[in-house]
């Protein structure tokens, strides 16, 4: 691997955008939807049909030969986002690829480009319910067989925290936590099912 000159984040974004645009069929709408640069990490949001092509461009055009991780984020009404982080060992630059899946979340598999994405996609499938087309074996990885639910979605209720009274709910000197005025324990956001 011959190390080339270090690429700036803007250069990375431009090269990826050009490569993806060149490879995607015209008429399908813009492939690259958004580019965000935060602390030298480029996050490029692509349309779901261009996901696999974008990963191929990252590996071939930008020398991103190290596949770090792939995971999902539940964006509530917007759908489920899938993120992949790749890195170039020669150029020492990071790249985050992102796509947003509305409705029934289905996406092409990354295992054809990066073999190591296999287990990451299995975990994303069982935790977020994303289906990866073409994945050789999308079986549950960490959850017990027959679990049936998708735990990392925001509407999944963590029963243990819901069913247990928070010891900090009482005010100092209060005998019992006042109903209705109960302050929620930390890490439970607004809209949590009221217990």
């Amino acid at each position: 691997m011959t190390p080339g000159p270090a690429l700036t984040p803007d250069a990375i974004a431009d090269r990826l955008r050009d490569a993806v645009a060149a490879g995607s069929p015209a008429g399908d709408g813009p492939a690259v939807l958004d580019t965000e640069i935060t602390q030298d990490i480029v996050t490029v949001t692509v349309a779901p049909p261009a996901w696999v092509a974008a990963l191929a461009c990252a590996r071939d055009e930008l020398d991103c030969d190290f596949f770090d991780w792939l995971t999902g984020v539940d964006e509530l009404d917007a759908g489920v986002a899938v993120l992949a982080h790749v890195y170039s060992l020669a150029g020492r630059h990071h790249l985050m690829l992102r796509t947003l899946l509305g409705g029934e979340p289905r996406l092409g598999t990354a295992t054809g480009i990066y073999r190591g994405a296999g287990w990451h996609e299995r975990e994303t499938h069982e935790m977020f319910g994303v289906w990866f087309d073409g994945h050789p074996r999308l079986d549950p990885l960490l959850l017990p067989d027959g679990y049936g639910k998708v735990p990392l979605r925001k509407d999944f209720v963590l029963a243990a925290r819901r069913d247990r009274d928070w010891p900090g709910a009482k005010e100092p000197g209060e005998q019992e936590a006042a109903r209705g005025r109960r302050r929620p324990p930390p890490a439970i956001h607004d809209g949590w099912p009221a217990s």
């Binding site: 247990r164 928070w166 010891p167 900090g168 009482k170 005010e171 100092p172 000197g173 209060e174 005998q175 324990p185 930390p186």
Partner: protein, 182 residues
């Protein structure tokens, strides 16, 4: 293997948590910050008689505590129950760090295994007895800067070694400490 199991423990070892009950004002911060929800506190409010309650109302003038000069009745929190469930505790120390009144302390004791899970919830009596095993804070490393309390006391008094900063029972603080450029 029979008998007491001892170990050569380093300073600040985290074995069990002791409660200095007289420092606790039932602010509930430890119970709220505990990530495991394993601190159980129950309390009630108690009126604290004000100084002027000593003289019966209506006698004397306002200075003597007549109705017009009666001190505002103060209320304090009285601790009923303070329990730590050590079967859940992950010994992170957040409760000890967050306590504003230094009522919780680390103790290096580790020999409190129980046959019954419920006995691993230590109530305030047992937490108080753990205080007897809390070691004094370890000395600062040689060459380390002086403790902030000492520096603050010196700044407040203008004279080293006197005033509130000096440790009780010693003549002057700095003489006991290794020179650190002061």
């Amino acid at each position: 293997m029979a008998g007491l199991v001892t170990a050569d423990l380093p300073a600040r070892s985290r074995g069990v948590i002791g409660l200095l009950e007289e420092n606790c004002t039932v602010c509930m911060l430890c119970a709220r910050e505990c990530p495991d929800w394993c601190i159980y506190i129950e309390s009630h409010k108690e009126p604290v008689p004000s100084v002027q309650d000593a003289s019966p109302p209506g006698t004397g003038g306002p200075a003597a505590g007549g109705p017009a000069g009666r001190g505002r009745q103060r209320v304090r929190n009285a601790l009923d129950r303070f329990a730590i469930d050590f079967s859940l505790c992950m010994y992170c120390g957040i409760c000890i760090e967050v306590c504003p009144y230094d009522a919780l302390f680390w103790s290096p004791e580790f020999s409190y295994a129980e046959p019954d899970l419920r006995d691993l919830t230590h109530e305030r009596g047992r937490l108080g007895t753990w205080m007897q095993t809390v070691p004094p804070p370890p000395a600062h490393d040689p060459g380390a800067p002086a403790p902030k309390e000492l520096l603050a006391a010196q700044a407040a008094d203008g004279r080293p070694g006197t005033g509130a900063g000096a440790r009780p029972g010693t003549d002057s603080g700095p003489r006991d400490r290794p020179a650190s450029g002061s």
